[in-house]
Every structure is written in structure tokens, then in C-alpha cells.
């Protein structure tokens, strides 16, 4: 009997492939949100596993804030090309220029402005479903989200009236203008993602590994020195050996001092870690309900 037993990664993988194929079977115009980050890299491998030898039957969509790490965009474009996939990039800058997104006075972060940019892309291509790489272990509001997360015609998530999900039966039915966000990695942890990257020998952007970088100390974390918010004379700047644990915008992604140069090193580091992955994201610290508020407004 013991031959017929799945370990945790095999279980998570078959669950995610099942969800990917449900998306292909149930929706007319699905897309896959691909940023080049580690979670969406796993999504692409799962899509290959779900759909090969056929072509992956959905385009890749990325909302470019204009504040991305250049290494990330380079990787994103290359990986999409290698897979023969269609990559659609929609820029926050263009959404601002077209009046679809409006920065608040003095607002530098593009975090909030990703929302109208994404919703405009969904409308432009009439996507009825977007697959995303979010995981429930990332954050408390995410812990309550479904695999198939229903959004109304304004792209809003209503945590109090989510569709119950029972067994492996996902209700994918929508009315026109409504949208589904689907999260095949819901049950994965940060450790699972890295173990999967190791098992599948997946390439990840170089910034996940230790490198030398000029860093500026802000709000108790080291951020990359960047042109968007250059260091002020009063701020401490140092060259450090760092890596990113989670990738957000270049102005808000905390760097961790780390010698981890390989995936094995990263796994060992996470096993010993004493703070969560999102502990290094300034955008989540704004308030205890920061993620909940952004999701209700249509965030990934």
C-alpha cells in the first residue's frame, strides 16, 4: 500500500494541477498573472504539468508598476519567451496617463494604482478569470480566501459572502462582467515553494540570491538605493550582502542580509527564519487590515 501514497509536494502539486485544468475547462478567457516572482514561477511549471504537450491555453499577464526591479522584468520576459507563451504587460504609468488611475497628492507608491491598471486590463481583454500565485500562509486576510475567489463587476472581494468550497468541487459560474481570481498555490507555504523550486530545478531571478547592493535604512529595514526615492543626506546608506525574500516594488521591498547563494541555502535559511516572509513588506505593515482593505478593492 505504501507505494500508493503521495508526499506533501506531490499532494500540493496534484491539487494545483487539478485547479489549473478546472480553469481551462470552465472559463472562456482565462489569464495567468506572471510577475517573475518565485510563486508565479511555480505557477508556470504547474501550467506546463497541467497542459503539456499542448500549448498553455492562457496568456500571461503582468501589471508593471514602473517600480519593478529590472532583474525581475528581464527574467519575466525571458521565461515567457522560453515557454512560447503570450505575455501581456500593462503599465501603471499608462493607466495614469489615460486617467484610469490617479495618484493621491504626494503618493509615490504604485501599490494602490496597480488595482485600476489590473481591472482595466481585465476589461480590455475581457478576461473572466485570472490565476494568481497568492498563498494563504502569507497573510491573515489571505488565510480566509477561496481557491476560486469571486469578484463582482467592480473587482471587489466580499469576505463575508464567499462561496463555500467543498471537496474538490469549484463553482466557476459567473455573470457577464464578473471575474474569478483563482489561487492554485493557496495551500502552499513559503517552504513548499522553495522545495518545489529545488525539486523542479526552476530558475529564479538573481535577486533572490545573495549579492552586494547599496542599501538605505528606512522604517527599520534595508531598502535598495533607487532613483525613485533617492537617499536623503540624513539617511544611512551602506553596501551590504543581501537578498530579497519576497519581491514587491523596488521602493518597498526589504532586503535581508544573507549569504544564501543557492536554493539549498535559502531553504536552510527559511527553516531557521524567525520572521515571516511578508515581515519585509512595508505595504502590509501600514495597518493590521492593510491587505484586507486592498483585496476588497480588487487587489490580487
Amino acid at each position: 500500500m505504501s507505494n500508493y501514497h503521495l508526499d506533501h509536494l506531490q499532494y500540493l502539486e496534484t491539487e494545483a494541477i487539478h485547479i489549473m485544468r478546472e480553469v481551462a475547462g470552465e472559463f472562456e478567457r482565462p489569464a495567468l498573472l506572471f510577475s517573475g516572482g518565485k510563486d508565479s514561477i511555480c505557477l508556470l511549471r504547474l501550467a506546463e504539468k497541467a497542459f503539456r504537450p499542448a500549448e498553455i491555453p492562457l496568456p500571461f499577464l503582468n501589471v508593471d508598476t514602473g517600480h519593478h526591479f529590472p532583474e525581475l522584468n528581464e527574467f519575466r520576459d525571458r521565461r515567457a519567451r522560453e515557454l512560447g507563451g503570450k505575455l501581456i504587460v500593462r503599465k501603471v504609468e499608462d493607466a495614469i496617463a489615460r486617467g484610469l488611475a490617479q495618484p493621491a497628492p504626494g503618493e509615490v507608491s504604485r501599490n494602490r494604482l496597480q488595482i485600476p491598471t489590473l481591472l482595466a486590463a481585465i476589461e480590455e481583454f475581457r478576461f473572466d478569470c485570472c490565476i494568481g500565485g497568492a498563498r494563504r500562509d502569507e497573510e491573515k486576510a489571505r488565510a480566509k480566501e477561496r481557491f476560486f475567489s469571486y469578484r463582482d463587476s467592480f473587482g471587489q472581494w466580499d469576505p463575508k459572502s464567499q462561496r463555500p468550497e467543498i471537496w474538490n468541487l469549484y463553482n466557476a459560474r459567473l455573470n457577464p462582467g464578473e471575474n474569478m481570481r483563482v489561487f492554485p498555490l493557496s495551500n502552499w507555504t513559503e517552504m513548499d515553494v522553495w522545495e518545489y523550486i529545488r525539486q523542479e530545478k526552476l530558475e529564479v531571478p538573481s535577486i533572490y540570491f545573495s549579492h552586494r547592493r547599496h542599501c538605505v535604512r528606512r522604517q527599520g529595514q534595508w531598502l535598495p538605493v533607487n532613483d525613485i526615492q533617492p537617499p536623503k543626506p540624513t539617511e544611512e546608506v551602506r553596501e551590504l550582502t543581501v537578498r530579497v525574500r519576497t519581491i514587491g516594488d523596488i521602493i518597498s521591498t526589504g532586503l535581508v542580509e544573507s549569504p544564501a547563494a543557492t536554493v539549498d541555502d535559502i531553504i536552510a535559511e527559511i527553516a531557521a527564519a524567525r520572521v515571516t516572509e511578508r515581515g519585509s513588506r512595508a505595504d502590509d505593515k501600514a495597518s493590521e487590515a492593510a491587505m484586507e482593505d486592498r483585496k476588497k478593492a480588487g487587489y490580487f
Binding site: 500500500m1 505504501s2 500508493y4 501514497h5 503521495l6 508526499d7 506533501h8 506531490q10 499532494y11 500540493l12 502539486e13 496534484t14 491539487e15 494541477i17 487539478h18 485544468r21 478546472e22 481551462a24 475547462g25 504539468k49 497541467a50 497542459f51 503539456r52 504537450p53 499542448a54 500549448e55 494563504r136 500562509d137 497573510e139 491573515k140 486576510a141 488565510a143 480566509k144 469576505p159 463575508k160 464567499q162 462561496r163 463555500p164 468550497e165 467543498i166 471537496w167 474538490n168 468541487l169 463553482n171 459560474r173 459567473l174 455573470n175 493557496s186 495551500n187 507555504t189 517552504m191 513548499d192 524567525r274 520572521v275 515571516t276 511578508r278 515581515g279 493590521e288 487590515a289 484586507e292
Partner: protein, 431 residues
């Protein structure tokens, strides 16, 4: 590493969230920033006392009202196993939420307050676990510190449970005395219970035998997606036609005979294709792509089965349902019914009775079925379903009902065993 999925249930103050918080805390699965956030919220809502329940109560309304709105999922690992926890609230919507959280669980933990003993909620939770056929059950007798760690009290509660357990179909039940608040017998053995020789909760979760929780009898592959590469230039792929799906029961072997339902056509498995190369056999719940020896017509919603172990086929169905929506079940109204990868229209022809969840007795249901009710119904579908009884196979014996128009998921259904099996002699299309 093995993965165990469990859910916790109890009524409002039994300390479910505290128990999960304790498991995370004592198994060192909590990170400094989570502990920090706990301490921050302690200053606001807890009068300075760290509240482990705040770890799982994720939404603002929940923290403000001190309740849990919905099923929350938590993840932790020990060197022996990985765990997925569904924390299901015990208040108003308990049945709906518990059914949701328990539907994918290997094990349910039912919390009982040692002072209150077995209350109606405890019976309900146990009955639901039994209806859903959760393979393993733990009765966590919590707050033992408040009854002076009395062995007699523990035995009394255990005896109460054992009175109604025989009426339920649960194979494996374990009773553990504990205090989630103080951590006794959750992760570390308690000095207060020298009379208890069993494992701590965590140690039980780490060792309970789950390898046989999936159904390995009778091949069932509901077809999700037809894999047809559009590559006329590559001769190897030009004729590739694969049928993709997650095996919902049994084992499939290359070269074996299979039947496609509902058409009844039989053929053989030419190849079990996976991204990592062809395999000789695959089993439930693996996701695979089957290439068949003959060019047969197969589409999403069909089921590929092993001809030795036949499922039922019918459009008049008998099932237990848990009603999950404030708009009550309306006989005669058309709903969408999703069963495996197959969606059909269905109308409820009769509500035969309601199940009293505390006593598991059948009662008349003159008022129909409302939110959180469990009942027995008959329904008629627009096309026959190929199915098994829920007791035989949780994946091919379950369905959901979806309201037309709003598309709300309104019910979870568990099918009774088929009265008639598919008859292979009717299938004269043998190739």
C-alpha cells in the same frame, strides 16, 4: 514528508482558536513578527493579555467582535509531518462552515469544555464528521484545569460520547484531556494528568495512520480537459490526443482495459502521460493524462473507469444534502448540479426528511430545508450521472448545487449508493 489535513470544531468559547494558536506557538511555527503583531493587538483589544485566538481571526470584523466569520486555513510543520488546519467557527453558520472545512480533512478535532461536558453542539459536530465520513476523530476535552484535572470528569465525558458513538460510522476516535490555554497535552505532556497514558494531541497528529484515507478501489478518472496540441508540424504531436484529469479512485495501469462513460465504449490505455514522462501506473489522487488505444469521442464531464468495478448511473438520485444558503431549498426549482467535472441541471423532486443533527433521527420536513439544515432529498437531473455512493468514494459520491442566476453555491450533497450499476452488456461499442 506526509501531509495531514485536519479541522477543529467546537462551540463559541471552547477555545478552538486558542488551541490552534497553542499548536503553532508550541511547535515553534510562529515567527517573531506574528508574535509582535499579537502583542500589538493585545494592547488594543486584550487589555494587555496576548490572545492566541488573534492568530487565526484574520478579518477586522472578527477581531472587533471577537468571533470567527469563516473558515480560515493555517499551515505548520514538525519534523515528522506537514499540517493544513481548517479552523471552522462554532457559531450561527457552524454546519455550513464545518462541512466546508471538514470536506477535505483526514481528521476532525472536536473540542469539548470539560465543565460543560457533552452539549448539543458536540453531538452535532460529531454527527457531521460522521456524515462526511472523516476517517479520524479526536475528542479534545479542553479546560481540564478548570475541573482540577479530574480523571473522573474526563471518564464521565468519555462515557457520554461512547453512548452515542456506536450509532455513528466513525472508525477511529481518540480522547485527549488538555488545557489549550496553558498548553497541557497539546504539544508537551502534562504533569497534571499522570492518569492519562495516551499521546499528546500533536504526537497523535504526527502518527495517526493516513496512508489508506484515499480510495484505491475501482478506477475513476473524471475527464477535465482534452489535451490536443495544435502542432501540425511535429509528427510526434500531430496525432496526440490525451484525456486529462485527477484520478478520483483506484489505480490505472498502462495497457489495461478501460471504459468511457456515458458512451460505454471500451478500449485500452496506451500511455499514462505526465510532464515528467510516461508512467506504468498512477493512482488516486494523482493528476495524469491518458492516451487511449483507439480514437474515441471523450470530452470534459465524461468518466473513464476500470471495467471490473462499475459505478452507478442514474438521473433519479437520492442524496443527503447540507443546505448552505439563506434562501431555502425550493422543490421543483432548477439548480445547476456540479458532480466531478460534469455540470447538469437538477430539480429536487422530494424532500423526504430532515435529519436532526443532534440525534441523527429522521424528522418530517414540512418547512423544507433552510440554511444549516441537513436532509434527505430525491432529485432528477437533465442527464444521467455516473457516480458512486459517498460512503464508497468521497470524490465521485459528492456534488454541489448552484443557484441559477446568482450562481451562489447553495448545497453540498452526498449520494446514496446506486440502485443500479452501469451495465457493460449495454455497451455494444466495444472496439
Amino acid at each position: 514528508m506526509d501531509l495531514l489535513r485536519f479541522n477543529t470544531c467546537g462551540s463559541v468559547d471552547d477555545g478552538k482558536s486558542t488551541l490552534i494558536g497553542r499548536l503553532l506557538y508550541d511547535s515553534k511555527s510562529l515567527m517573531e513578527d506574528q508574535i509582535e503583531a499579537l502583542e500589538r493587538s493585545a494592547d488594543i483589544t486584550g487589555g494587555g493579555q496576548v490572545n492566541l485566538a488573534n492568530l487565526t481571526d484574520g478579518l477586522r470584523a472578527e477581531r472587533e467582535q471577537g468571533i470567527t466569520i469563516d473558515v480560515a486555513y493555517r499551515y505548520f510543520a514538525t519534523p515528522r509531518r506537514k499540517f493544513i488546519v481548517a479552523d471552522t467557527p462554532g457559531h450561527v453558520q457552524y454546519t455550513r462552515n464545518m462541512v466546508t472545512g471538514a470536506s477535505t480533512a483526514n481528521l476532525s478535532i472536536i473540542l469539548v469544555d470539560a465543565r460543560a461536558g457533552v452539549i448539543e453542539q458536540s453531538r452535532r459536530h460529531t454527527a457531521i464528521a460522521s456524515l462526511l465520513r472523516i476517517p479520524h476523530l479526536v475528542i479534545a476535552v479542553n479546560k481540564m484545569d478548570l475541573v482540577d484535572w479530574s480523571e473522573a470528569r474526563f471518564n464521565e465525558i468519555r462515557a457520554e460520547f461512547e453512548q452515542f458513538l456506536p450509532r455513528l460510522d466513525i472508525k477511529d476516535v481518540k480522547f485527549i484531556p488538555m488545557s489549550a490555554l496553558n498548553g497541557d497535552n497539546v504539544v508537551t505532556p502534562s504533569a497534571h494528568t499522570p492518569w492519562y497514558g495516551g499521546p499528546t494531541l500533536l504526537s497523535h497528529l504526527e502518527t495517526v495512520h493516513i496512508a489508506s484515507d484515499w480510495n484505491l478501489q475501482g478506477l475513476r478518472l473524471p475527464v477535465q480537459w482534452v489535451n490536443r496540441p495544435n502542432q501540425p508540424t511535429d509528427p510526434r504531436l500531430h496525432d496526440f490526443r490525451g484525456f486529462s484529469g485527477q484520478i478520483a479512485g483506484g489505480i490505472v495501469r498502462a495497457g489495461q482495459k478501460v471504459m468511457v462513460l456515458p458512451s460505454g465504449i471500451t478500449t485500452t490505455v496506451k500511455e499514462i502521460h505526465t510532464y515528467d514522462g510516461p508512467v506504468a501506473e498512477a493512482f488516486c489522487p494523482q493528476s495524469v493524462t491518458l492516451v487511449l488505444a483507439h480514437d474515441v469521442d471523450v470530452s470534459r464531464g465524461n468518466m473513464i473507469i476500470g471495467p471490473d468495478d462499475l459505478p452507478g448511473s442514474a438521473s433519479d438520485l437520492h442524496a443527503k444534502v447540507c443546505w448552505m444558503h439563506p434562501r431555502a431549498l425550493q422543490p421543483g426549482k432548477k439548480y445547476w448540479l456540479k458532480h466531478t467535472t460534469h455540470t447538469v441541471q437538477a430539480a429536487v423532486t422530494e424532500i423526504t426528511h430532515r435529519i436532526n443533527i443532534s440525534s441523527l433521527e429522521q424528522e418530517p420536513a414540512p418547512a423544507g430545508l433552510a440554511l444549516n439544515d441537513i436532509g434527505e432529498i430525491r432529485l432528477r437531473t437533465s442527464a444521467p450521472l455516473v457516480f458512486d455512493g459517498y460512503a464508497t468514494n468521497r470524490l465521485t459520491g459528492s456534488f454541489i448545487l448552484i443557484e441559477q442566476g446568482t450562481h451562489a453555491t447553495v448545497a453540498a450533497g452526498m449520494l446514496h449508493p446506486p440502485r443500479e450499476l452501469v451495465r457493460p452488456e449495454d455497451a455494444d461499442f466495444v472496439i
